[in-house]
């Protein structure tokens, strides 16, 4: 991935890329840091059509209004964080333009749009035992009957706040930057009994 060489992910010094592929083939856990997507914080009244309509026009799809769900299209994803709060995830470098566009569309609507790309990193967790590892530190019921692809939720993992988004292939854990080292170490420790393999994004 091309990015400004000056930029560093919070886990850069762990040498994860060098460690990639060293785990056993039958590892129950696959961990990947997927840094450098852009994140935009969006606040507004989801029930206000002026707001929701303006945002939909810019994004090309409607914001998720059901709690703890995700919508998206064409490499843009919107995660529900609260009744007036969303996280928009877009590819690296796409935030500035989108923020400007949202700002313009929402000029007359009470709202807030702000860049939080560097606030979090994303750790992707997959493998046969992924749910077991999360169950060690997270009180959410992640059973397929209650949580599946397209679900998201904020909660705690171990002793840190997280945002979990389940995709078709993995759990994407949005982790605040200053907690990243703690949580990465925690995930490796929790996964050890199942075998951990590190992969590259």
């Amino acid at each position: 991935m091309a990015h400004n060489p000056l930029r560093q992910s919070p886990l850069a010094h762990l040498g994860l890329i060098a460690r990639a592929g060293q785990g056993a083939d039958d590892a129950g856990i696959i961990l990947t840091e997927a840094p450098f997507t852009d994140h935009i914080g969006l606040r507004g009244d989801g029930a206000d059509t002026a707001f929701a309509g303006a945002v939909e026009k810019v994004l090309g799809f409607a914001l998720p209004i059901s709690p703890n769900t995700v919508t998206g299209k064409a490499k843009k994803t919107a995660l529900w964080l609260g009744p007036d709060e969303w996280l928009i995830v877009v590819p690296f470098g796409a935030a500035d333009k989108l923020i400007a566009a949202l700002g313009k569309a929402l000029t007359d609507v009470h709202s807030a749009v702000f860049d939080v790309s560097d606030s979090r990193t994303v750790i992707s967790l997959s493998g046969a035992n992924a749910r077991h590892v999360l169950a060690k530190g997270c009180g959410l019921d992640l059973h397929p009957r209650t949580f599946g692809p397209g679900s998201c939720a904020q909660s705690t993992l171990a002793l840190a706040h997280i945002l979990i988004h389940q995709t078709d292939t993995a759990y994407r854990l949005y982790i605040h930057r200053s907690f990243a080292e703690y949580l990465w170490a925690w995930l490796e420790d929790a996964g050890a009994e199942f075998g951990v393999s590190i992969s590259t994004p």
């Binding site: 709690p67 964080l81 609260g82 009744p83 009180g139 959410l140 909660s155 705690t156």
Partner: protein, 89 residues
């Protein structure tokens, strides 16, 4: 570990929430009109009932919303939750 039904997110573990004390204590509109004793009442005096308690919770590690709950302080049963601004059940 209570199971608290957030009005938005549904049932979640208590560890995601923070407790906000007695609900429906309105801040006086004109504090200067109050005697020291009346101000102390607003600041400090609490019903602290044995039984039904109307109280505030914040889904701090979830949707960040404050809401009210009706909880029994003896049985710990949460009888109702309702959003800020909604009527007491």
């Amino acid at each position: 570990m209570f199971l608290i039904p957030c009005p938005w997110c549904g049932e979640r573990d208590e560890e995601e929430f923070s407790y906000g004390g007695e609900a429906h204590i309105e801040r006086p509109k004109d504090p200067d009109a109050l005697s020291d004793a009346e101000w102390a009442d607003y600041l400090f005096m609490r019903k602290n009932p044995k039984g039904t308690h109307f109280e505030r919770w914040n889904h701090a590690h979830g949707c960040r919303r404050w809401f009210n709950a009706k909880r029994d302080t003896v049985t710990h049963v949460i009888e109702a939750v309702y959003k800020m601004g909604e009527e007491k059940p």
